[in-house]
Symmetry: C2
Subunit: 334 residues, 2 copies
Amino acid sequence: MSDPSAAQNPADSIGGRGEFALIEAITRRLPQGAEVSVPPGDDAAVVLVDGTPIVLTTDVLVAGVHFRTDWSGADDIGRRAAAASLADLVSMGASPVALVVALTAPRSTDAAWVLRIADGLRDEAALTGASVVGGDLSGGETISVTVTGIGGLAGRAPVLRSGAVAGDQVAVAGRLGWAEAGLAVLTRGFRSPRTLVEAYRRPEVPYEAALAAAASGVHAMCDVSDGLVADLGHIAVNSDVHIDIESNLVAIGEPVATVAAAYGSDPLPWVLTGGHDHALVGAFAADALLPEGFTRIGSVKERARSSADPQGEHLVSVDGEQWSGPSGHRHFDG
Amino acid sequence: MSDPSAAQNPADSIGGRGEFALIEAITRRLPQGAEVSVPPGDDAAVVLVDGTPIVLTTDVLVAGVHFRTDWSGADDIGRRAAAASLADLVSMGASPVALVVALTAPRSTDAAWVLRIADGLRDEAALTGASVVGGDLSGGETISVTVTGIGGLAGRAPVLRSGAVAGDQVAVAGRLGWAEAGLAVLTRGFRSPRTLVEAYRRPEVPYEAALAAAASGVHAMCDVSDGLVADLGHIAVNSDVHIDIESNLVAIGEPVATVAAAYGSDPLPWVLTGGHDHALVGAFAADALLPEGFTRIGSVKERARSSADPQGEHLVSVDGEQWSGPSGHRHFDG
């Protein structure tokens, strides 16, 4: 008997349908109860538990897709897995409180290696004051780490993707393109420049800057996990605006520029579409003083009513021109 | 280069160390912040978010370990994955509010099959009033479903494993052994009796009875996911008591008895060690009127000080004798 989970026709498979389209189809089937104040579609959901808004997000990293065990140490993998959820929480303006983790791994996996994953989760969580409060462990052919985080808003409204308005400044905190450059280095079989490889292995998420932005009343914010252009596209779609990036304002890190020159590559695609750094990007009022750590990289414009692109890729321009490079980060299996 | 995640020596592997020992070693490395009111070690953790206690639990199901796609439909898998987390929440006395799900699957997986997983999650969550509020989807060689649930206590204290006292009645709600018998049927290549196969595919968790028990002031409660003897062992260890099961009080369902007779098997091991039904077991005050759905199956005794078994298996007896059968549910890879 054939496996009932396998698509008979490639067009009907997850790969054929596309991840975003499938997530949209799933979301349409999920009714949202009265306690849900921010439904699926933002960096995290917000639900009321006994009247208190709780911010909730889950992310899974899979060996061979999001990381390679020969390229990243177990502690790096733990840190990255925690960072993915923590970045989603702070991008909503939530202070992270707790993480839980589900780990699958073959029974032949080194137990000490698993302990170092836990250390990485613990150390990354500690940067935000959150605790790792539980988990599940299962056999399985593939190593995967799923981290779910919850956080609180301390009475503030959550920061959504939908709050940007024309005239806003667009600003970014954290690195752009460093991890993608590090990945390019590793892909070519090198281990240096070390600073880029380390940036790939272990993102430095600007947690404090994100929470400062939330406290300052940022209009919209998003974690850069799909790539700057793609994630600004999410803000543009949800806010019904157009966003223009001014490339001369986007910092290209010195080692990124150096490696790009050495490889004869243009560093701009790494910076505009790299997804591993977990930078934070937000839309701030035109006259706002940007919180420490944020740098202006562009501005929010009225949306031209003629464009109607559901993915929002056409709602983001670079120096006034439509970006014609890759639209966003692709994982190894993309 | 060898895979750094693989144990060089089988004794150092996850399988060699054992899942429980590894979870204990992980837990010891995780400091718990001031907001953590119930740390790892119970069915779920409890953390304070902006002063409100939030109950939080995560469970992962893996194809080939916890389910087989030729034995369970996608909606069954979704229901079981949701039930695992929801049962943990209600066993703490928490009303489930929201679930998030992380799914990994090969890109060749049928998208419609994935949608039916979402339907199963949705339908099981709806039984408790909870909403599925988000998730993540990733490629990966193995299908896995990780469900994280959060719930609220409405001002009540959480129900812990540690509250049983000598003299308490031990009572169970829900089925015992039905799913294990269904698994035995499927393992032998049969598809009937259908009622047992369905019990394996789709647990019927006594959500309402569990919440009624919490409201009635049950002393301790636990979801039966490792098997009755093993899970009562958790209550016995955490409460520092001995628990005696009276086998004549433990209902053996008619189809379970019939199939056991047909296979020449003793049904008692299925009932005492089966882990797929997600029954709830609790310790109630000696004079308590048991909530609807609960049936007394034994009692809590003083712990004999001579026994010192950290796994607590020796802290549970059946008709006054130490249980010498299998100690708890084992998954396919056990």
